[in-house]
Subunit: 203 residues, 2 copies
DNA sequence: GTGACAATGGACCGGAAGGTACATTCACCG
DNA sequence: CGGTGAATGTACCTTCCGGTCCATTGTCAC
């Protein structure tokens, strides 16, 4: 069971953990840090996350994954014109540029992720959801004739996800968003150029 | 000073550390593990790496970075025909597919990397070197007329690096190389058919 | 208001991991 | 050889951190 107060505490712990991880990385974050920041004690932490750190990290990973999609809305569901694609692109770049060298999710994945099936599931779910949105966008544009029939929506959406992921990783380690921008631009350009030549461009 | 025997031991320690990290990740790898695998004691480890774990991890990161480029040779220096581009693509995919869920360098970067300047330098150097090779390849193809003048070698090379990086990251967490392949194919396709969006296409 | 169960505080534990001290053995140079 | 500094083995230390225990306080349903 879980009283209202309990639920609030649980949430505070996740928030604190996420913040701490964003600030200092998974490895450097200790349970004591999280307790201090959330104003709780370890007894509470283990009360709400009986399996300890791993369970908590998983909850944080899920929370961060939700944010990834959330932060791209409403753009991600409105990829029906080139203007909107461009707005989405700008939103992505802005989001990660602001986030700077922190990639909470990426860090969680590399550190918690690969070995435990539960964490892999979080990743997979995020990737699928993300890619599905983009694929849908491409398909709509295809139907309206703005993207060539020759373009494979699934593969292209996959490439876009990879491009963003890589751009963000590089942004994390160099601090520069150039790669992210180039990669996104290239992919979008690819989508446009495939356009049957003469329905062409509104810029 | 460093006798021949000493140099060999030092190398053995780096090898053991790299292997251990590949097998179990940075976090799970302890100095004792490394010593056990390399058949040395901690006194030796600290003899050759007085600054301890951090210094050793940095050495491993450098070693892994060297491998990245090395494993793509000679392809990376011979990007002068579409056949060779394709061969390079296949080599990259094969290399990372074989490597599977391990991305030693990526892990090192996310865990050691971002906060220490020395580790950032390793990353930057690798990215620059890699991108320079690709850029050179694009420029040669441009000169021989096989790639359009409208393509910006620097930005496109950057996008390619990002695409690979992202594809590998996804490969790491899902075990599937699909994204990596799609991303690479898209970029190469872009180079081949590449006329940026606003020029009317003469193919 | 009272009883049952959730929520909390705080002290405590055990072990692991990075790092040190020091004595001993070995490699190289004259 | 013989000596000097490098190379190595062993035992130890200290700190930190995930996790436990238990007593106390609060919540909520009846």
């Amino acid at each position: 069971m879980l009283t209202r107060k309990g639920a609030a505490t649980r949430r505070r712990i996740i928030d604190a953990a996420a913040a701490e991880i964003r600030a200092r990385g998974v490895t450097a974050t200790t349970l004591d840090d999280i307790c201090r920041r959330s104003g709780t004690g370890k007894s509470q932490l283990f009360h709400y996350f009986p399996d300890g750190k791993e369970q908590l990290l998983l909850a944080v990973a899920q929370w961060e994954a939700d944010r990834v999609i959330e932060d791209q809305q409403p753009h991600l569901e409105q990829l029906t014109s080139w203007t909107e694609w461009q707005e989405w692109r700008d939103a992505v770049v802005a989001r990660y540029r602001q986030q700077g060298v922190h990639c909470p999710l990426g860090v969680l994945i590399t550190e918690v992720g690969r070995h435990t099936p539960a964490a892999q599931a979080v990743t997979r779910q995020l990737l699928e959801q993300w890619q599905r949105h983009i694929r849908t966008g491409i398909e709509r544009m295809r139907e309206s004739g703005e993207i060539s029939r020759d373009i494979d929506p699934v593969r292209t959406a996959g490439a876009l996800i990879a491009a963003i992921q890589g751009g963000v990783t590089i942004l994390m380690s160099t601090g520069s968003a150039e790669h992210l921008e180039s990669a996104l631009d290239l992919c979008i350009d690819y989508l446009r150029t495939g356009t049957p030549a003469h329905t062409s461009s509104v810029v």
